[in-house]
Amino acid sequence: MNIVLDNFDAYLAGMIDTIVLTLVSFALAFVVGTIVAGFRVSPVPPLRAVGTAYVTIVRNTPLAVSMVLFWFGLLPALGISLSRFWAGIIVLTTYTASFVAEAVRAGINSVAVGQAEAGRSLGLTFPATLGQIILPQAMRTVVQPLGSIFIALIKNSALVTIISLPNLTKTGEAIGTATVQFFPALLGAGVAYLLLTLPSGAAVGWIERKVAFRR
């Protein structure tokens, strides 16, 4: 594995790029996804329609396609000038948010309906009921699904290579080109991904235990 050791700095830089992409877009996707989930369970039909349309369209479009369409199609068509980094973040965020929304909605549905009724009978508005009573309970049950989405995002973030944004996969490919040794170079990238995903999996389990109800 000389190739990997010789290019250790490059792999490290690639890992940091991937970590930054993942953390920023997951943080944003968590917020956007939760809002969309709120829309989907809202009593207001237009909001429900917007939430459903968002999930249907974004979740069913391949990420690679969205990436190309956004950078080469939508941005030039609208005449918007945006840095590659934020373009990549926006695409990863919108895509991931659609999965977050469905996970959170499942969590909301898992909370007994009496909880919402109790909130309403106390005179709380719908947003207040959702934010203060339903979501705190719902989030506990969706830690694992959100963790899976997070781990998927670590790997999905490789697709920003399409718009020439640095990340771990791009680093691996570049090292493969420079050395004409693609297999060990990409294997190195694969191992580096494991170094990110395995601790993430462990962290998700830890968070789940931390926030669990004492039963």
Binding site: I3, V68, F72, L75, P76, S164, K170, P184
Partner: protein, 332 residues
């Protein structure tokens, strides 16, 4: 009377089938021709790669499917077209005889993007790779090259109104240059213009789009490819016109197969001499406005580093390949 009416469709069907049968009669004549050609196909020493390809009945060629004028899959006909493709066909003719236009299923093209070219040769997935494949010493560690059959050179394409970029030395800090990911031209930009920001996409057409959108300042790759884009957008794009590299395109084959390499080199010299090379060029790159070179490049019959190390599939094995002695010497 009424009972006979059902005969009409049957009669019609029979006539139609006869028509089809007549149509079919034509194709066997074509097939007959090719069989005749096989009889006048050259014979090769038993055990040679040429004899093996002849026995197998087809040659498998790795090529690019996305390079205008060189190797591009035509979505309408599903055929790969371009100069690389024509060269591959002319080599196939050297093995099977006949004519480049009626090889039929004696030649099969497989898409080989840049990262997989050495691997498919080593694993024997393809017999040869003709895919804008620049001859260089790093690659000679893993495979051997026949040719070159064309000397491209890296140039720079900019918007027509750009006067700031006049050559590779203008690619300084703050200038964004686009090329295809992990390609030789991209590597050369890193080397020759390390200050410039390199943007890498999957295809050159994406680079061209980003140049037209104003997201990048320049696109750099082999002039043969750039000329194709300028020919399609003559009002918006131009080529700087200062080549800063030589890209000798070679034909990749298994390392150490000297008999096969000599055969291809001989065949290249044959098509240089009989005008086939010139015709292949004019019907492909020539149509895109690339001027036909006055003379084809001289083939480089260098001494190979010897047979490739035993094929390895494990990661550790792949790494030890690098330990193979680097005895490649370039002659001529």
């Amino acid at each position: 009377m009424k009972k006979q009416r059902w005969l009409i469709p049957i009669v019609l069907l029979t006539v139609a089938l006869m028509g089809v049968a007549c149509g079919n009669d034509d194709s066997p004549t074509v097939g007959g021709d090719t069989t005749d050609n096989t009889s006048d196909a050259p014979s090769f020493a038993a055990g040679s790669t040429m004899a093996a390809i002849q026995a197998k009945g087809k040659i498998v060629v790795g090529s690019k499917f996305d390079q205008p004028g060189l190797g591009q899959k035509n979505p309408l006909t599903n055929q790969v077209e371009g100069f690389d493709v024509e060269i591959a066909k002319l080599i196939a003719v050297g093995i099977f005889g006949g004519d480049a236009s009626d090889l039929g299923n004696k030649i099969e093209f497989i898409e080989t993007p840049t990262p997989v070219r050495e691997t498919v040769i080593e694993q024997g997935t393809v017999d040869i790779v003709v895919a804008t494949y620049t001859i260089n010493d790093a690659r000679k560690q893993r495979i051997d090259f026949a040719g070159p059959y064309y000397l491209a050179g890296q140039d720079i394409m900019v918007k027509k109104d750009n006067t700031a970029i006049t050559g590779v030395e203008s690619l300084v800090s703050g200038v964004t240059v686009c090329s295809v990911r992990n390609s030789t031209p991209a590597g050369r930009i890193k080397e020759r213009a390390p200050e410039a920001t390199l943007i890498e996409y999957d295809t050159y057409s994406q680079c061209k789009d980003d140049l037209l959108n104003g997201n990048v300042d320049a696109v750099s790759t082999d002039n043969s490819i750039l000329l194709g884009f300028v020919a399609a957008n003559p009002n918006d794009l131009k080529i700087v016109g200062k080549k800063f590299s030589d890209e000798p395109y070679g034909i990749g084959l298994k390392r150490g197969d000297d008999a096969f390499r000599t055969f291809i080199n001989d065949r290249l010299e044959e098509i240089y001499g009989n005008g086939d090379w010139k015709q292949a060029f004019e019907s492909t790159l020539g149509k895109l406005g690339v001027p036909t070179p006055a003379t084809p490049p001289a083939v480089d019959r260098y001494t190979s580093a010897g047979p490739a190390p035993a094929p390895t599939t494990t990661a550790a094995g792949a790494t030890t390949t690098t330990a193979a002695p680097a005895t490649t010497t370039t002659t001529g």
